[in-house]
């Protein structure tokens, strides 16, 4: 168990970083509480895997310090930091059985066979591998192999933090579901710090207690899934989280109220706007848009069926607005009016939420 602190970390892969682009991770600091479930979420190239490898010790930061429980581990190896990592594709020792794979990290540390046996069987049962402990690891399916990778991390009782680098990439969707909830269950049971890197927002939001949203080597927002969903601080967070992402509509602010294409829109933070930003937008998630008798007049362009809800794409002048409609609800035919939930409509100034 450990509290993890990153102080003023900056990382570049090349030898002499000069311009902004040379830095894979721009200056950032992060505090991760002991026993928490965290997700690092962002598109390809945002720096999340770099950050993960810095925490695990597979990379040494160009600048800054990393502390585990206030002890400086910046120069320490992964073994010294006592971490476990599960990779994108299953990494197992082909020549060994499942049992030996799980026992490997313990044996390397010189732990006695009796204790090794107890731990391996315990973890085997937790991961539902107990009936195949004597099989050769190379004969398992992809999700079985990932479970072994996971097991190797769990089997050490003194592990400080377990890291996952997009671990469900090679898993089939219906098994992804099972493994995801298993990870959540595991975290609840063993209460160790877990850090999960992914570009899939569903994985991040369902697993983590706190999500770190990243873009271009920087942290954009840290928050609980609910905070990120209901109050995204930056339009990127609004866009990246949620499927489909947040509707962003250009607006102006007149007399303390937001106005979109001539239509007044009630926004939760209209009062806080000071009036010096260049680009003004209204952000409202499709979940908080609904059909009404009055409101913004729109034409219905497309209806996509997603099973339990439908995604309706509408147009007002040149702007596209999407909303979610429950299964079974009758839709208006061609023209309709949209209403935005005022509590969940925000004004964004140059990308950042006005507050």
């Amino acid at each position: 168990m450990a509290k993890i602190t990153l102080q003023d970390i900056r990382h570049a892969y090349g030898p002499n970083p000069e311009s902004d682009e040379d830095w894979a991770l721009k200056k950032l600091s992060l505090d991760l509480a002991d026993g928490g479930a965290y997700a690092l979420l962002g598109p390809s190239g945002c720096g999340k895997t770099t950050l993960l490898n810095l925490i695990s010790g597979l990379l040494t930061p160009t600048e800054g310090r990393i502390l585990f429980d206030n002890a400086d581990v910046t120069q320490a190896s992964p073994e010294q930091r006592n971490i476990a990592q599960v990779f994108q594709f299953p990494v197992i020792y082909d020549t060994m059985t499942v049992y030996d794979n799980l026992a490997f990290p313990l044996r390397n540390r010189g732990i006695g066979e009796k204790e090794v046996d107890a731990r391996v069987r315990e973890i085997g049962k937790m991961l539902e591998l107990d009936h195949m402990l004597n099989k050769r690891a190379s004969g398992l399916t992809a999700d079985g192999k990932q479970k072994i990778s996971l097991g190797r991390g769990l089997v050490r009782s003194d592990v400080n933090v377990i890291m996952f680098d997009e671990p469900l990439t090679v898993i089939d969707p219906h098994l992804k579901w099972v493994l995801r909830s298993k990870l959540k269950e595991l975290h609840h049971r063993i209460r160790r710090t877990m850090i999960y890197v992914t570009h899939d927002q569903t994985e991040a939001l369902t697993f983590a207690e706190k999500v770190v949203v990243m873009k271009d080597g920087q942290i954009v927002q840290i928050g609980t899934p609910i905070e990120l969903f209901e109050k995204p601080k930056h339009t990127f967070v609004g866009h990246f989280i949620g499927s489909p992402g947040m509707n962003l509509l250009p607006c102006t602010v007149e007399g303390g109220r937001a106005v979109f294409a001539g239509n007044p829109v009630a926004a939760a933070n209209a009062a806080a706007y000071k009036g010096n930003g260049k680009v003004l937008e209204i952000g409202v998630r499709p979940e908080f848009v609904s059909f009404g008798a009055q409101g913004i007049p729109v034409d219905i362009v497309k209806v996509a069926d997603a099973g339990r809800y439908r995604i309706v794409e509408t147009r007002h002048q040149d702007h596209s607005i999407k909303l979610l409609v429950a299964e079974g609800l009758v839709l208006p035919t061609r023209q309709a009016h949209l209403q935005f939930d005022p509590a969940h409509t925000q004004i964004y100034e140059d990308g950042w939420m006005v507050s």
């Binding site: 598109p43 089939d172 969707p173 909830s181 570009h199 369902t206 069926d305 099973g307 339990r308």
Partner: protein
């Protein structure tokens, strides 16, 4: 110009990759092959394209027997999961390559490439090489190359699987627009039920080398022909349980009784398997006398906009998916409401006998 598979099978040694399959695809349609990995999607697509010969059965295209005619002689394009482009060609040359092979005049090639690049927003990158592009741009180059040929049959084998989540969403929106107005047959393989639903068109459900159901996507989602089809076309997995129907009531194994839904009134009393999709089990309900189910909570997943609860149902794990935030304590007993009107009834052979219309 339809594509017809007549009793096609594919066997390699002792393994049967595709069991007897007959399928008809009409021009101008978007057809989805939905199934898990190794269900046979790629094999089926290769048979359709002429990349492989069926062990038995025939393939007919536009009224002619094309069984055994290799892909070079058919007018087919294919897009793969790994962004396959010629690494030493520029984007322009990549897109132009099938036209050059066909011996088209340079002027015509120019026109077509410009149009395809415009459609896929690749115009600013025409001079770059694939390794200088992002994953999404590489895949769009591959799609442009497939489109520029004006093929009769375009096959896409999980083309979005290696892309970022958000990029996948964007391309998913774009793809149907790209194929609209063309008279070709599009076949798209995927493992994700939600993707199939969002595309619409027609869907063929594949399970262990068999096509279990084929039809308009929404229709087969709402009326699966059997339990296997219902399971393949559900994400999260469909909840199932054995029930006994007696008159106005249905009884689950743990003695819980529900009022029989209207849809099941017509079927005779007896043993059935009931299938309920997770979003029809919710913590809140507006129905007056909704059926109730209780179970010990195993895991709760809150994703900001929805809650998923895994709970124990008589030794099985059932899943409830609902809008909004409903945090249940792990270990507590959750009280949930079931919309039994939306369930499916399957008989002893797992065929659908009663279900939501």
């Amino acid at each position: 110009m339809s594509l017809e598979l007549k009793n096609v099978t594919k066997r390699v040694g002792a393994d049967v990759y595709i069991h007897e399959t007959s399928l008809t695809l009409e021009p101008g349609t978007f057809n989805i092959l939905l199934g898990t990995t190794l269900a046979g999607k790629t094999t089926l697509m290769q048979l359709m394209a002429g990349l492989d010969k069926p062990s038995s059965g025939e393939i007919w295209f536009d009224g002619r027997n094309v069984t055994g005619i290799p892909v070079q002689k058919r007018n087919v394009s294919m897009v793969y999961q790994q962004f396959i482009n010629y690494p030493n060609f520029s984007v322009y040359d990549n897109i132009a390559s099938p036209l050059r092979v066909a011996g088209m005049a340079q002027g015509d090639i120019d026109g077509r490439v410009e149009k395809a690049a415009e459609l896929l927003r690749l115009k600013p990158m025409l001079k770059r090489r694939p390794n200088e592009l992002s994953g999404g741009q590489q895949q769009r180059t591959a799609i442009a190359r497939a489109l520029v040929k004006d093929s009769d049959l375009i096959l896409l084998d999980e083309p979005l699987a290696n892309l970022d989540y958000k990029l996948r969403e964007e391309l998913r929106d774009e793809l149907p627009k790209l194929f609209a107005g063309r008279n070709c047959i599009v076949v798209y393989a995927t493992t994700e039920p939600v993707e199939a639903l969002l595309f619409g068109g027609n869907t063929a459900l594949l399970y262990e080398g068999r096509v279990t159901q084929f039809g308009p996507t929404s229709a087969i989602y709402r009326k699966p022909s059997d339990l296997v089809s219902a399971s393949v076309f559900s994400d999260p997995p469909i909840n199932t349980a054995k029930v006994i129907k007696r008159g106005e009531e249905i009884m689950l194994e743990n003695q819980v009784t529900w009022r029989s839904p209207r849809i099941a009134r017509a079927i005779p009393d007896g043993n059935y398997t009931i299938g309920i999709r997770p979003h029809h089990i919710t913590p809140v309900t507006h129905a007056r006398d909704a059926s109730v189910i209780e179970g010990r909570v195993l895991v709760t997943e809150l994703s900001g906009s929805e809650s998923v609860v895994h709970f124990d149902m008589n030794g099985q794990t059932w899943v409830s998916q609902s809008h909004g935030i409903h945090p249940f304590e792990v270990g507590s007993t959750a009280r949930l409401f079931v919309d039994v009107e939306q369930s499916f009834f399957f008989d002893g052979d797992n065929r659908l006998v009663g279900g939501a219309a």
